[in-house]
């Protein structure tokens, strides 16, 4: 699990962004070192392609620099704001990859490709879980990944997904129940039978 974006880190990011807006270029380096790895990891996990993930991460950081002077401290965490930007940029790219269909026939919302996780898993256990995660609805999958892959707290997940903490708890509970149900059938194959 990666470092958890706790409140002190969130305050630090906001302070760095304000310093950058005031013309302190060293703040840009510190922010890049703090936020770029997570943005790149998230984009790679969603797209499954490193070059594309790097372009998305760079684009997202550029939007952060441009947003710096208008940033309203206390309204959002920098890390979760960036998460949303990366998510939307990846969704745009996934949408462009798919064959163009008339708007009325397009499925909404567009899911990140669930098979990407499957391809990244190595062990049988991880592959089984990745496959099971692929069967979850998109919102449940997103909440689960933020919780278990990024180590976000429930309020941070709510911030990133623009929903209440109660909604996050509900999404996670349903996701775990559904995963457990799917994986019950695979217990023997995983050595738990």
């Amino acid at each position: 699990m990666t470092a958890r974006p706790d409140d002190s880190a969130a305050d630090r990011d906001a302070e760095l962004l304000q310093r950058f807006a005031a013309g302190d270029h060293s703040a840009a380096r510190e922010l890049t070192e703090s936020l770029l790895p997570g943005a790149l990891r998230q984009a790679w996990r969603m797209l499954g392609d490193q070059a594309e993930a790097e372009d998305v991460a760079q684009d997202a950081m550029m939007r952060l620099w441009k947003q710096a002077s208008d940033w309203r401290a206390g309204e959002a965490r920098v890390s979760t704001w960036l998460y949303r930007v990366v998510h939307n940029l990846c969704i745009d790219r996934i949408r462009k990859r798919r064959p163009q269909v008339p708007v009325e026939d397009a499925p909404e919302p567009v899911d990140p490709d669930p098979s990407v996780l499957d391809r990244m898993a190595q062990s049988d256990t991880a592959k089984a879980v990745a496959e099971a995660i692929g069967q979850l609805p998109e919102r449940q999958r997103q909440a689960l990944i933020l919780r278990h892959f990024e180590g976000y707290s429930n309020p941070e997940i709510g911030d990133a997904m623009e929903c209440s903490v109660e909604a996050v708890e509900s999404l996670l509970a349903r996701a775990r129940r559904q995963l457990a149900s799917i994986m019950q059938d695979q217990k023997e194959a995983l050595g738990y039978g």
């Binding site: 699990m1 790679w44 991460a57 002077s69 991880a126 879980v129 278990h148 892959f149 995963l179």
Partner: protein
Amino acid sequence: MADDTDKRMDDALARLARDVNAGAPRPDAALVERVTDDAADLLVADGLAALADEVNARAPRPGADLMARVLADAAAVAPAQAHAPTETAPARPRGVMDMLFGWTGGTVAGVSLCLTMGVAVGMEIAPEHMPLMGGETIEVAEVDPMGIMPEDFL
């Protein structure tokens, strides 16, 4: 003899164990379900942890090239940020009227005062003393510039 005693002892213990176990409570359906749920939760938790570890271990880290691109973008945006108008922009000089009535009120009050003073001064000056071009008055202007008066033609 000793073997016979041991066998009887074993049989007695086996009977006792059967009787005790027969009277022991059986797990009800709810308990079975809870234990199964716990096992499933454990399975999910273990599986998620394994997957997260594997995926994050394979995730790319930003290389020097990407870091340089991002920092170059920041440098390109930074001058515009530094020159953007901020709260520290120098304040507009304020006059007495501004201070008394605020910016808009002060402007209106100042213009009104000027107009009033102009009308008042104008009413105090007799028309014949109104200054014309070159500082002359109407009295002087009634004289023909060439010094010839109309009655000279009569």
